[in-house]
Amino acid sequence: MLAFLARRLLTLALTAWLATLVVFAVLEVVPGDPALLMLGTSAQPEAVAALRHQMGLDRPVPVRYAAWVGGMLTGDLGTSLTYARPVAGLVTERLEITLPLALMAMLLSAGLAIPLGLLAAARQGRAGDWAVMAFGQVGIAVPSFWFAILLILGFSVQLGWFSAGGFPGWGMGAAPALKALLLPAIALALPEAAILARITRTAALDTLREDYVRTARAKGLRRRTVLLRHVLPNALIPVTTILGLQFAFLVAGAVVVENVFTLPGLGRLLYQAIGQHDLIVVQGVVVLLAVMVVLVNALVDIACAAVDPRPRVAA
């Protein structure tokens, strides 16, 4: 296990480093002067020169990269031009919305998909299976932002149960905040639940064919007990891996869905930073999102390896 852990942490560090390299390289290829792009063509030359100095554009590229990565390691993501505040502070504030949103979406997705996938596997080839597989196909095809608009149309415009957007803040109490996050979380969860239900079904079908499941049935255990005690725990390993990978899609989806519901999260910060040409914020947020995704995937791999020895042996 220790060797697996060391190898996984090494690849985690390597991928995170590659992610910083990609983001830095992309922003290096900005056509023209990034400082001029941010301030606009009508900016005073002194202001442009000052920003160039602040961004380190007057230093060699490797020095600038080292300083940027070094800053990130100490929690310094630079200072936003639009907000005139450290990006790290802005990100921390916005994470208070995006993280609970992603977590809620993950819980909803798993809570819906795992029982549906098990049901489909238990009723393979019958109506229940077909219904779950149809849900899988339709759920993947429906864009989350369209589903979000439909939810607003149904639950805000027609029924008036929820507000059409905005966030009251955690200071007003957990209930109104969670209520504001519920529709966005449902919109984000749908495509992920559709994929996860299909994965759960396949994993459960694979497990159902195992000898120990047949033995459990042969010794008289009820089908339901076999499903919950033997099939579910084994099917959960691939499901957990996919759930970890889906975190990346939830984060990317949040950028769009937060805009549908005008939630002031990390996605909306990124979107607004693009409109404002605030490249320092874009750089900081994108690299943070990428590193978060890499970290979650590594944690999921380690968790899976802790309960299932096969990946450790393969490594």
Partner: protein, 276 residues
């Protein structure tokens, strides 16, 4: 002679995809109204005999915009897939020959692809290069290339292990010749299935980016932008938010079913149950 039944998903997927492609082709020759024609006097009309799907806030005919939107969506999706395949397939084939270094490079590329989902890559690139269809194609194409590398290499490695490839090597053929004559034709099926799936993903992502205003730029119609505009008028013209979303969902559903059906046809071991 025993005939093989086509998978139902293939038939349904092909019909849906043919409908969308037909709509896109039709828009080249005919639309009920010019898709970019603004008629403020006819703004936000509900569906009726004159405008079958109604009009938007500029009085533009929604059906005409959906037909032209199909063309734009398919063009961006096809270009993103073509770019991805053109970059990714040769690299994937080469990585299968490289052995351990190929393994490491592809594993790191896979990790990086997961760290940067397509929408995030596209947002990063549009932040730098500016919004527009060409930059969306570039961003989605790069993301697709990484997926093609992984899939092609996996399929190519399986072909390299087969007897006839070993025989060709024993007969003195070089790696390049074996790759072109034996490996490429045998991975083509997997690549085509993957291309269908990525086509659907590209259409979804293009719509999301256009919704955010980072994709296809006005006045050219796009389904994502139409949804973005419709959201502003949810209280007065709720139907405007239904049609473009339905068009996206049907297109993606058709392509996904087509991909599943092709996979079942090419590799019956993966056969899913029934239509879905």
């Amino acid at each position: 002679m025993r005939t093989r039944r086509l998978p139902a998903s293939l038939v349904l997927g092909a019909v849906l995809t043919a409908l969308v492609v037909g709509a896109a082709l039709l828009s080249l020759a005919w639309t009920p109204f010019p898709a970019e024609q603004i008629r403020v006097v006819a703004r936000l009309r509900p569906p009726g005999p004159e405008h079958w799907l109604g009009t938007d806030h500029f009085g533009r005919d929604v059906l005409s915009m959906i037909l032209v939107g199909a063309r734009n969506s398919l063009a961006v999706g096809a270009a993103a897939v073509a770019l991805g395949a053109a970059l990714g397939v040769p690299l994937g084939l080469a990585a299968a020959v490289w052995g351990r270094w190929g393994d490491e490079a592809v594993a790191r590329l896979a990790d990086l692809t997961f760290a940067f989902p397509a929408v995030l890559t596209a947002i990063l690139l549009t932040a730098v290069l500016g919004a527009g269809a060409v930059n969306v194609v570039l961003a989605l194409g790069l993301f697709n290339a990484a997926v093609f590398v992984r899939v092609t290499r996996g399929a190519a490695l399986a072909v390299w292990r087969r007897e006839f490839v070993r025989a060709a090597l024993a007969l003195g053929r070089g790696p390049l010749s074996v790759t072109l004559v034996h490996v490429l034709p045998n991975v083509a099926g997997v690549v085509i299935v993957q291309a269908t799936v990525l086509f659907a993903v590209a259409i979804l992502n293009e719509a999301a980016l256009s919704y955010l205003g980072l994709g296809i730029q006005p006045p050219s119609p796009s389904w994502g932008k139409m949804l973005g505009d419709a959201q502003t008028f949810l209280f007065t013209a709720p139907l405007q938010a239904i049609f473009p979303g339905g068009a996206i969902a049907l297109t993606v559903l058709g392509l996904n079913l087509l991909g599943d059906g092709l996979r079942d046809l090419l590799d019956p071991r993966h056969r899913s149950s029934g239509v879905l």
